[in-house]
Amino acid sequence: MSAVAAARVDLSGRGARVGLGLLGVVVVAAAWQAVAAATGNPLVLPAPTDVVTALVQLVTDPQTRTDLLDTVRRVVAGFVAGSVGGLLLGAGIGSFRVVRELLNPYLNFLRTVAPIAWIVPATIWLGVGEPSILFVVVYAAVFPVAINTISGIAAVDADKLRMARAVGLSPVGTFARILVPSAVPFVMVGARLGLGLSFMAVVGAEMIIGQSGLGYVIYDARTFSNTALMFAGILVLGVVGYLFDLLFVGLRSSLFRKYYAGREAA
């Protein structure tokens, strides 16, 4: 590092990033508080302080805390079931070229349809309740994972497959030891997308047919014009989503690290 560059404030360090981030939050919160005070109508724009109060209530009140846990439970259950299903579906379809070519258009079609649109058939078949919400969440996760798994398997390096044949690996061995490990980075991309979509789906489903959950809380807060609670719900959603994503990034750089050899860890 040259003397000139070192004399300037280094903005790329971790400390500087955290500091700037905090500064950003403070500036926005202050501006928000000022605008809220100027508006003077907490129904239109509640002050950040009101939102924090509502947030503390949301997290501490046993009733709303149950709502929060319900949403988390639904996302975890639906997402895990959906990704495992998507992985199996994708691996099965991806391993056979004919099946892949045959079914890919349908998967893409189903992936395009908003999961929330299935809430109607789901309620008709499964009733208004938990199974329908889970159906929509599973649906949200299945297709991104399946499609990316297929892409991953299709993108496996031809030389790797030739090597497998040269050393006499069986088809099952090739699948388990070559195809699936090579597809891991793709599967992770799909799963991360699926997680985001699961959050979208659960909120929508809870708003439309839910009797509990954060989506229900937000919808309910609107009905009762409790704008501060609405914002608190949004905050919690953002934080929970972020924590889940962190978990994901952590998994990728620890447990799944070896599958990323030679790739840039994006």
Binding site: A117, A158, A266
Partner: protein, 287 residues
């Protein structure tokens, strides 16, 4: 919605394992296309037959309509203009929200990519908003902008903006070192560098983000309309629920899926036709 779609990951041809002959005989390509079309058509027939059989086996056509019932509903909705009006309304919202959101995303992304201070201050918000589903904003948006078109379009703007912004940041900060050095050697000003080097060099990233945004727009429009609109495919779904008209719901889903798929393919076609040179030396087609 939460992932940066890097061009390496999202713009990859799914079928690349097959080694291709250097010189392709045209008749060979023709035969392959014919085989593919045949396979698709064949599978379609099998699928529709299975669906019809399943519906008859379930034996409550009212709850699980077969393809014939859905086709009938499709024809009815086409004939009385409902389908055209619904599709038109939804597509308009999608296009408006997607275009506004993507443009805003590029601008935000370029600004944040260019300034360490700005990106540092905005980082918590960008990370945070990525994880708030658009529908969660349904309440505040209704309070601020009312129940009209603005609210629904804004939700789609929201769903497009962050993916595109994140990808633009990614692209504009991952400029190849030689490229940015070359701009310095040429003596480019801040604006020249931005418009003649950084922005075009970020196009592959922007496009990858925009493609995800387009998919998000198709998903968000349904929920936005389900919570209140006079026309749209989401409204068709919702009406189908209240009046238990499942064939109508299926028709709406079918049109949504097909429209989404067609838009995605058109997008890819446009990218492959006009976008090749932005991808520099890579010649990989978008799948």
């Amino acid at each position: 919605m939460s992932t940066i779609a890097s061009p390496e990951e999202d713009l990859r041809t799914p079928v690349v394992a097959r080694p291709r002959p250097a010189v392709r005989v045209p008749s060979d390509a023709l035969a392959r296309a014919a085989r593919r079309t045949g396979l698709t058509l064949g599978s379609l027939v099998v699928l529709v037959a299975a669906w019809e059989w399943g519906s008859r086996a379930y034996d409550v056509p009212f709850l699980f309509p077969g393809p014939l019932a859905v086709a009938e509903s499709l024809a009815d909705n086409l004939a009385d203009g409902t389908l055209a009006a619904s599709t038109g309304a939804s597509l308009w919202r999608i296009v408006a929200g997607f275009v506004l959101g993507s443009v805003a995303g590029v601008v935000v992304g370029l600004v944040l990519g260019a300034s360490r201070v700005a990106s540092g201050m905005a980082a918590p918000f960008v990370t945070f908003f990525r994880f708030v589903p658009p529908l969660a904003w349904f309440g505040p948006v209704l309070v601020w902008f009312g129940a009209g078109e603005t609210s629904k379009v804004l939700l789609i703007v929201y769903t497009s903006l962050f993916v595109v912004a994140l990808n633009t940041i990614e692209g504009s900060t991952k400029l190849p070192q030689d490229l940015s050095r070359m701009a310095g050697v040429a003596g480019a000003s801040w604006w020249q560098r931005m418009f003649w080097v950084t922005l075009p060099a970020s196009v592959p990233y922007i496009v990858a983000g925009a493609r995800v945004a387009l998919g998000n727009a198709f998903m968000t429009v349904v929920s936005a309309e389900m919570l209140g609109a006079s026309a749209g495919l989401g409204v068709m779904v919702n009406n189908g629920m209240t009046s238990t008209n499942v064939p109508d719901v299926f028709t709406a889903i079918l049109v949504l899926g097909v429209a989404g798929l067609v838009c995605d393919r058109l997008f890819v076609l446009a990218v492959n036709t006009f976008g090749r040179r932005f991808r520099g030396q890579q010649t990989v087609d978008v799948a």
